[in-house]
C-alpha cells in the first residue's frame, strides 16, 4: 500500500464506511463494462459503472483483467472441434421449413373448421329431432294400451249373470 494512505485513521474510516454503505444494484452489461475498461465512456456512464464496480470486486477484477489480456493458451484440437460443432453447416439443398403460414390461411382454416362444426351440429339436430318424434309417437301408443288395460271388464258375462238370476 502506498505511503500516503497508510495512516490507520484513514483505513479505519474507509472500513467503517465500507461496512455500512448501500450497494448500487444495477449491473452493467459486458459491453458497458468493456467500454469502461477501455476508457470509452462519458463521465455520467462511467460513474454509473463505477458505482457498481465499487461494490463488486469480482467484476472490477474482470474489467482489469480485460485491460491486460494475457497471452493466449493453445486449445486442443478436440476443444476446437467441439466448439465448431456448436454451429451447424447450412446445406443449400435443404429448404428450411416454413415457420408460419400467412395470416389469411390461418383465418381460412379456423373459419372452415368452425363452419364444419356448425354444419355437423345442424345435421345432428335435424336427425335427432326426427328420431325423437318417432319415439314420442311410440310413447303415445303405449299410453293408449295402458288405458285399455285400466278400463273395466268388457260386458261379456253380464248377460250370463242375468240369465242365471232369472
Amino acid at each position: 500500500m502506498s505511503e500516503f494512505i497508510k495512516q490507520a485513521e484513514q483505513t479505519a474510516l474507509w472500513r467503517r464506511w465500507r461496512q455500512s454503505a448501500e450497494h448500487a444494484t444495477e449491473a452493467p452489461d459486458p459491453m458497458l463494462l468493456a467500454a469502461w475498461a477501455e476508457h470509452r465512456l462519458d463521465e455520467a456512464s462511467a460513474e454509473a459503472v463505477e458505482a457498481w464496480l465499487a461494490f463488486h470486486p469480482e467484476a472490477l477484477e474482470d474489467a482489469l483483467a480485460a485491460r491486460n489480456v494475457a497471452p493466449p493458451i493453445e486449445a486442443s484440437v478436440a476443444a476446437i472441434a467441439r466448439g465448431s460443432a456448436l454451429v451447424a453447416q447450412r446445406d443449400p439443398k435443404i429448404v428450411p421449413l416454413r415457420r408460419g403460414a400467412p395470416a389469411w390461411r390461418v383465418a381460412a382454416t379456423w373459419t372452415s373448421m368452425a363452419a364444419s362444426i356448425v354444419i355437423a351440429c345442424l345435421v345432428g339436430f335435424e336427425l335427432g329431432g326426427g328420431l325423437y318424434a318417432g319415439v314420442l309417437g311410440g310413447g303415445q301408443s303405449d299410453i293408449a294400451f295402458e288405458q285399455t288395460l285400466l278400463d273395466g271388464p268388457a260386458p261379456l258375462f253380464s248377460d250370463f249373470d242375468e240369465e242365471i238370476g232369472s
Binding site: 460513474e47 463505477e50 480485460a66 467441439r82
Partner: protein, 175 residues
C-alpha cells in the same frame, strides 16, 4: 474492419466464419478464465460453456457486441470471466447440515442495534472506486490513475476529498 465483416458473416450463420472465430479466440478465452477454475473443472469445458453462451439463441449475446465501444478481446475476456463466475456460483458446495454445526455457533445474541443512517450520496462513485482500489486492492496511486485513465494527482485529490467527507460525516455521527 475485417473483424467486423467476419462477425457480420458469423451472425448471419456462416459456418466457416464461426469455425474461424473459434480457432482465433479459443486460446484467448482459455487464458481469460485461467485462475478462475474450480477444482474438477476443465478449462476446455469452460471454453465450451463460453462458446455456447455466445451462439445461444441465434447469437443473441454476440449481437450485443459493438466494435465502436470496445475491442473484441476486451469484451470476450469479460464475457468469458463472467461465465466462469456464473458457473462457480452454480456449483457452490452444498450447505453444511444443521446437525453438524456446533451449538455455540447457532446461539443468538439479542443485541438491539440502531440502523445506521448513512447518506446515500456521501461519496461519489468515482471517490468510492478510488478508495476501493487503494484500500481493498492495495494498489498504488499510479496504478489507480492508470486504471481510471486520469492523472495521479487527480487520484490523490479524489482520495483527499473523500477522506474529508468521511471524517466530517463520522465526526457528526459520533457526537
Amino acid at each position: 474492419m475485417a473483424e467486423a465483416k467476419e462477425l457480420a458473416a458469423l451472425i448471419a450463420g456462416d459456418k466457416a466464419a464461426w469455425d474461424g472465430f473459434v480457432r482465433r479466440y479459443a486460446g484467448l478465452i482459455l487464458s481469460a478464465v485461467r485462475g478462475l477454475l474450480r477444482e474438477g473443472t476443465e478449462a476446455e469445458d469452460l471454453l465450451q460453456e463460453v462458446l455456447v453462451r455466445l451462439c445461444k439463441d441465434n447469437f443473441r449475446l454476440l449481437k450485443t457486441y459493438d466494435p465502436a465501444r470496445a475491442g473484441l478481446t476486451t469484451w470476450l475476456t469479460i464475457v468469458a470471466r463472467s461465465t466462469a463466475r456464473d458457473l462457480q456460483r452454480r456449483h457452490r458446495p452444498a450447505q453444511t447440515a444443521l446437525e453438524d454445526v456446533p451449538e455455540t455457533l447457532l446461539a443468538v445474541t439479542d443485541v438491539h442495534q440502531e440502523p445506521l443512517k448513512l447518506p446515500k450520496d456521501l461519496l461519489s462513485p468515482r471517490q468510492h472506486l478510488v478508495l476501493t482500489l487503494l484500500y481493498e486492492r492495495d494498489l498504488e496511486v499510479a496504478d489507480v490513475a492508470k486504471i481510471l485513465g486520469v492523472d495521479p494527482q487527480t487520484v490523490r485529490s479524489t482520495h483527499h476529498k473523500a477522506m474529508l467527507k468521511l471524517r466530517g460525516h463520522f465526526a457528526t455521527e459520533d457526537r
